[in-house]
Amino acid sequence: MRPFRFTNAKDAASAVRSLTGNPNARFLAGGTNLLDLMKEDVERPDELIDITRLPLTQIRTITSGPNQGGLSIGGLGRNADAANHPLVRQNYPLLTQAILAGASGQIRNMATNGGNLLQRTRCPYFYEVSMPCNKREPDESSARAGCGALEGINRMHAIFGWSEKCVAVYPSDMAIALAALDATVNVRKADGQERSIAFADFHRLPGDTPEKDTNLNHGELITAIELPRNRFADHSYYLKVRDRSSYAFALVSVAAALEMKENRIVQARIAMGGVAHKPWRALKAEQLLVGKEASDATFRQAAEAEMAGARPLSHNKFKVELSNRSIVRALQMAVNGGKA
């Protein structure tokens, strides 16, 4: 780990100011990912600004604005607190399930909600500085430029939206639920103004700039995540398929949320994890479900419509059929109110 300066932010304004003033500075919140990356020499900040004492931990009902009646979750609240908050459990059980499917109890106690969104990929070529990786080494003249995973060990990697430059997947579980729930991310900009980013616009596909995971600008601070009011609470399910029962990243995960009128689907939301560089909204599948009677055949049809666009790599062809089955199972579970 390289030497760095460590400062405590007194308030949001000064935190944002400090970060803006130093392109090599990073905010430090839970540190559950950043410190690992620093030890591996992947991240090399020369200044860490500790923001954990900023009063951005509240979970409260939104009383005005477009998300009125929805829920605001503080950017610096801990994952464990968000998962277990009564309003989250009651109105957004999908989010509770997704958070609890991730990491371990210890990590969820440390990790913050804003930090969770900014997790970097666990692609081993990204983590291993002796390996080629365009995300880590965007400079094409670098000796480590290239994508090690494209033709390498890519069982865990993307089947949607990848580019020749990067086939990594985004690791968060929480964010998959947030994508399905149409969350917005509130950030404080360098100039002190706030802006809201729709969740679908928050993370990016790799394209030619895999080094950019999100559309957050340097100097911006996530203050809160807002969830609009919805009618999904009775019919949602987060399904995570992985190589062991806990403490493993998803091979495929599906956040499914349905608004049902008797057996008819009024609205559907499906987001997938472990398949792309960002939470993957299965919009084609969603469209096919709206207005239909819930049935296994309909679910399978919707899943296949979505997965027709998949482009698997050498080691992850199984993910296509696994995704099909996961979408169907998650929808079945959602219809049954989360019960098998």
């Binding site: 780990m1 030497p3 291993e128 069982r155 398929v241 190589d243 029962s245 806990s246 696994l322």
Partner: protein, 743 residues
């Protein structure tokens, strides 16, 4: 006997849970410097330039050792051979500019603090000239060869000569079974990473706190490699945070820490990172072919079991993979083969049940598949082909073999009799359920060891031997043996280990510590008993005048006449008449070769497993497992049970999760941390049960123990694979059985 056979709680438990137990990197000595290793990022080639100037410029950096400036060490290979070294030329850290494997240490940065050393290690610039590397065994199966024989073949025998004509018998067999089984590499990954703290004392005396499974082994290695007299080094290792075989050989941090301490004349600690735990020994990749032929009545008529495994370019590591097949099954025609291939890897290293867990997965899966072809219950097939003699060892009888009873008791505990053999016949919700079983076998070895027993002036018993406790319970069982032998309350007995100032013991491996060190402890305590009795006879008004040793017993801290318990002398009284001096005896236990050579000596087990398979996703859960174990006398059912349960958990890991994944284009392991290298989490482990079938074995050793370190693991992978077949109708031959292979 009061304590042997009782579930005594761990005598070192309190020290461990309160943090008083110190591990190699926790011994803080004054003026300590910290070394951090720089690892090679190529697999094969040479270093063409190594620039340490940026690292040395960091304030607080003391030195950077490389092949260019390292102090001189011993000249010949033989000086680098540790007690577990296979034939070949042992790896020498920082020897020259040649790179032999990825992750090879290329520099050691020593600084005033660990953090500074870690930072400066990033600033060492190494330029390499890389040449293409070969690391993939699967690409070289046509180029395998016989391993060079070595001393270790005493414990890890090469395959026996073929008997009969397996090829012809196979061709003629009415029922045939043939398959290939592939295992990837695995790394031990004990919780405690490798570390050595070298305290540089007066006149250069070195006290070395090392993570090792044998302090004597580390001592020999250090004194020979650095040409230091024995009496100038002491190696201490009272606690080991797991090892599983990784500590059977001194690892390179020991060499580097000693080198730096001697050169700087200062105490130095070198600890490896979790990632660097992938930069030395591992369980090798292995490919096995098994062909079986049988008569319709189930009699095996032909066995061919061949294994091909990877080793390094510099040493011929080998393990016993195929011999177990011969020990278990008495076919008249059998060919067992073991071949290796040198690749650009570090030398493999014994990892819990080396070879056994590999070979038994193949043969016990093949036997299950054959039983299905024969329409026989897999358990009946094993009983049909049961043997009381070991043809791989001149048809000797077994010293004891209660495997039949393991089958019976294990099956009963599990409920095997109610099994419907039809695959896919059991369901729970949308999950398929399957039951499988397999046989386990492991060595019951004993080697010479030495121990010392002292009755202190306070009447307490102190016993010492330079063995190790890698978490297995050695402290506890040795205390039990000592307490029983001298008839003392266990609280008055202390056993110490892990220090080269103690009588020597061999490296702790191969499940032989209970038998080996246990026998030495018993011998030393027996010798002490005889001495104490002689002293008691000489006491004024001794009740033992004219009494022989066999006429007395040691009980409740006293010597008493068997026929008349009122005639007794307390041990405290005996020692108190010794002019203020303690009484000490030392003894060496040596295996009884006459008994040993006339018998085959093995522990046996039978594992029964229930799996639950979500077929749509391919996810497998071992929901229930029973292992019945026949391992001689069980000294402590609590610690022994823990050993078996731990082995079963590892079996689940081996079957379903564990593999070091290498990118063969680069020769580098890609999942080198515990987030990506999967072993089971608590949620993966469900109902595990152990049945001990006691054996009264007077041949293996005076205590009648066989060791339980490995026998809990070996049967599990095949039992799980067989259960997956029963659940799904699908045979999966390659481990680990991850979900994409099942769905």
């Amino acid at each position: 006997m009061k304590y042997i056979g009782e579930p005594i709680t761990r005598v070192d438990g309190h020290e461990k849970v309160t943090g008083q137990a110190k591990y190699a990197a926790e011994f803080n000595v004054p003026d300590l410097a910290y070394g951090v290793v720089v690892s090679s990022t190529i697999t094969k080639g040479r270093i063409i330039r190594l620039d340490t100037s940026r690292a040395l410029a960091v304030n607080g950096v003391i030195a950077v050792f490389t092949h260019e400036n390292r102090p001189k060490t011993a000249w010949f290979d033989v000086s680098y051979k540790d007690q577990d070294a296979p034939p070949g030329s042992p790896f020498r850290p920082l020897y020259d500019n040649e790179i032999k494997y990825n992750g090879q240490p290329v520099a050691l940065v020593v600084a005033e603090t660990f953090e500074l050393a870690r930072y400066a290690a990033m600033l060492v610039d190494v330029a390499y000239e890389a040449t293409p590397c070969d690391t993939d065994l699967l690409k070289h199966l046509d180029a395998v060869r016989d391993p060079n024989p070595g001393v270790m073949n005493i414990f890890k025998p090469l395959p026996p000569k073929p008997r009969g004509d397996a090829d012809q018998a196979f061709a003629e067999a009415p029922v045939q079974q043939s398959a290939q089984y592939i295992h990837g590499m695995q790394h031990h990954n004990p919780m405690e990473m490798f570390a050595s703290t070298v305290e540089y004392g007066k006149n250069g005396f070195l006290t070395i706190y090392d993570k090792t499974q044998g302090v004597t082994n580390s001592l020999l290695y250090v004194t020979q490699a650095f040409n230091i007299p024995f009496n100038q080094v002491r190696v201490v290792s009272p606690y080991v945070g797991g090892a599983f075989g990784s500590g059977l050989r001194p690892q390179y941090q020991l060499f580097l820490a000693v080198m730096a301490a001697r050169d700087l004349k200062r105490s130095v600690r070198v600890s490896l990172t979790r990632q660097q735990m992938w930069s030395f020994g591992h369980r090798p990749a292995t490919v096995q072919n098994v062909r079986l032929g049988a008569r319709p009545d189930g009699t095996l008529t032909s066995i061919t079991h061949e294994a091909m495994a990877a080793t390094s370019q510099f040493e011929d590591y080998m393990e016993t993979v195929v011999n177990w097949t011969g020990k278990l099954y008495p076919s008249e025609n059998a060919t067992l083969r073991y071949k290796i291939k040198s690749l650009d890897l570090y030398t493999p290293l014994d990892m819990r049940a080396p070879g056994g867990v590999t070979g038994l997965h193949a043969i016990e899966s093949a036997v299950d598949e054959l039983a299905y072809k024969l329409g026989m219950d897999p358990l009946d097939f094993r009983l049909k082909n049961y043997t009381e003699r070991d043809w791989t060892e001149k048809d000797k009888p077994f010293s004891s073999k209660e495997l039949r009873e393991c089958f019976r008791q294990g099956a009963e505990r599990f409920g095997w009799a109610t099994r419907n053999p039809e695959p896919r016949s059991m369901q729970r919700g949308h999950n398929l359920i399957g039951w499988g079983m397999a046989t386990g076998i492991w060595d019951a070895a004993q080697v010479p060891a030495r121990a010392e027993a002292t009755l202190t002036v306070n009447g307490k018993l102190r016993v010492r031997s330079a063995t190790a406790d890698i978490g297995t319970g050695t402290y506890t069982i040795m205390t039990q043996i000592a307490a029983d032998t001298l008839g003392m309350p266990i609280d008055d007995v202390v056993f110490r280990l892990g220090d080269t100032t103690m009588p020597p013991a061999p490296i702790q491996g191969g499940s032989w510590t209970a038998s080996t060190v246990g026998s030495a402890v018993k011998s030393a305590c027996d010798a002490l008993a005889k001495t104490l009795f002689r002293m008691a006879k000489r006491l004024p008004k001794s009740p033992f005048v004219g009494v022989g040793f066999d006429d007395v017993q040691f009980i409740d801290g006293a010597i008493q006449l068997r026929q008349n318990p009122s005639k007794r002398v307390s041990l405290l009284e005996v020692v108190s008449r010794n002019r203020g001096r303690a009484v000490t005896e030392t003894a060496t236990s040596i295996p009884n070769l006459i008994k040993h050579n006339s018998h085959s000596r093995n522990a046996h087990a039978a594992a029964f497993v229930e799996v639950q398979v979500d077929e749509e996703f391919g996810t497998v859960h071992v929901t229930r497992a029973v292992t019945a174990v026949a391992a001689g006398r069980i000294l402590n059912p609590r610690t022994a049970r823990s050993q078996i349960i731990g082995g079963m958990v590892w079996g689940i890991s081996h079957a379903l999760q564990e593999e070091s994944v290498m990118d063969h284009r680069y020769g580098r392991f890609m999942n080198h941390d515990l987030a990506e290298y999967h072993i089971p989490v608590c949620a993966d482990i469900h109902d595990l049960d152990v049945v001990f079938v006691e054996e009264n074995d007077t041949i293996v050793n005076p205590l009648g123990v066989k060791g339980v370190g490995e026998i809990g693991l070996v049967a599990m992978p095949a039992a799980i694979a067989n259960a997956i077949f029963h659940a799904t109708g699908k045979r999966i031959y390659d481990l680990p059985i991850q979900l994409d292979k099942v769905m």
